[in-house]
Symmetry: C2
Subunit: 216 residues, 2 copies
């Protein structure tokens, strides 16, 4: 009973902190669903906070209380979608890149799966919108990378380190650079639509990156 007041009214006065214990779970989910469906139907630019609130059957203030921007709503909604999907499939935790001993085959497997995800119409609209928003807004971009992208990239780092120990990858290489050599080309085609993004392309990237451009 020593201190019933807010624990930390301290240093930062800008920190608006609504009481999370009283938050309505029902509204939160309704907002996620409304945001995702609207982005899929009318596109990101035409998706408005008013529209999300209306479809979710929610007051606008409820959205403004918990999220700083339309993009932040969509980011959380998308993260939640991913969690639910992961949880519906296997166990809840993170995945791993398979390690059969054949590095090229393992990378092709996972990059092909990435291709499939990227062209899945259910995910395409929101993830394009989020990526684009993150490109322009550094704060949102950092959150996007940290929560959505980086965990996946770390899986590559782990698999590539194992490959280095097995002697399948040159030990002097930075796994971070190696990983980007594999992933960035797919992202490039997907984002800029320069050429079609296919399994064949994923395979070509793996072969090309592993073997190098110069003759051996």
């Amino acid at each position: 009973m020593a201190d019933t007041r807010t624990p930390e009214p301290a240093a930062k006065p800008a920190a608006r902190t609504p009481d999370t214990t009283r938050r309505s779970e029902r509204s939160r989910r309704a907002i996620y669903d409304a945001a995702l469906s609207l982005v899929g139907e009318v596109g990101y630019p035409k998706t408005t906070i008013e529209g999300i609130a209306a479809r979710a059957g929610v007051g606008k203030q409820t959205i403004y209380r918990w999220w700083p921007s339309k993009a932040a709503v969509l980011l959380e909604a998308f993260l939640d979608l991913g969690e639910r999907a992961a949880e519906a499939a296997g166990a809840g935790g993170d995945y791993e890149i398979p390690d059969t001993g054949d590095l090229a085959a393992d990378l092709k497997t996972v990059l092909r799966a990435t291709v499939d995800e990227l062209v899945d119409p259910q995910y395409e609209a929101p993830s394009r919108a989020l990526t684009a928003a993150g490109i322009v807004d550094p704060v949102l971009g950092a959150e996007f990378v940290e929560k959505l992208l980086e965990p996946s990239l770390q899986l590559y780092v782990k698999r590539l380190r194992a490959a280095q120990e097995a002697g399948d990858v040159r030990p002097d290489l930075d796994p971070r650079v190696a990983l980007e050599l594999l992933v960035a080309p797919l992202a490039h085609r997907w984002l800029l639509r320069t050429l079609p993004l296919t399994h064949a392309y994923a395979d070509a990237v793996v072969d090309c990156a592993l073997g190098g451009l110069t003759p051996r």
Copy 2:
């Protein structure tokens, strides 16, 4: 004097065709300048057509008459900026990737220059905004790729073909895939801000891509 009327009122009724011969060059340039400076100052989302018109000292209708969207204005303004810069520097035409016989060195030279361009604050805001807009809007994206990106990429194709003939690159590789192995990692870091984009990184990408990930 056989036909003074509009040459083609034909098939497409949607084609609005203002008379380009009467177009005001002064207004066009003022709009370009206003658009670029506003994007640099307040960011792309807060840049409005009304704002551009006001700063350019131009009626809104003048913008709506000649461009279909805010993004289209910025794309043309950016292209014009590039043309003026190119013209101010060397000759007007396109450049080439140098061919000193040392492929790795040539690629490092041009990729380092690309890095410098990407982090140049004058270009960063508008090119980020355009890329992001193109990611979400396929029509604009296609125009962006065709007019801005593809010409540069073709330079790589040409240089890589020469390298194949010289025996510096495996002859069975698709130059298109090879090029993306080099360029996409830079674009990836620049767009997503995962890690700093430096000359050292450009060099590492070249070495890594040429030599391959596996030991030789």
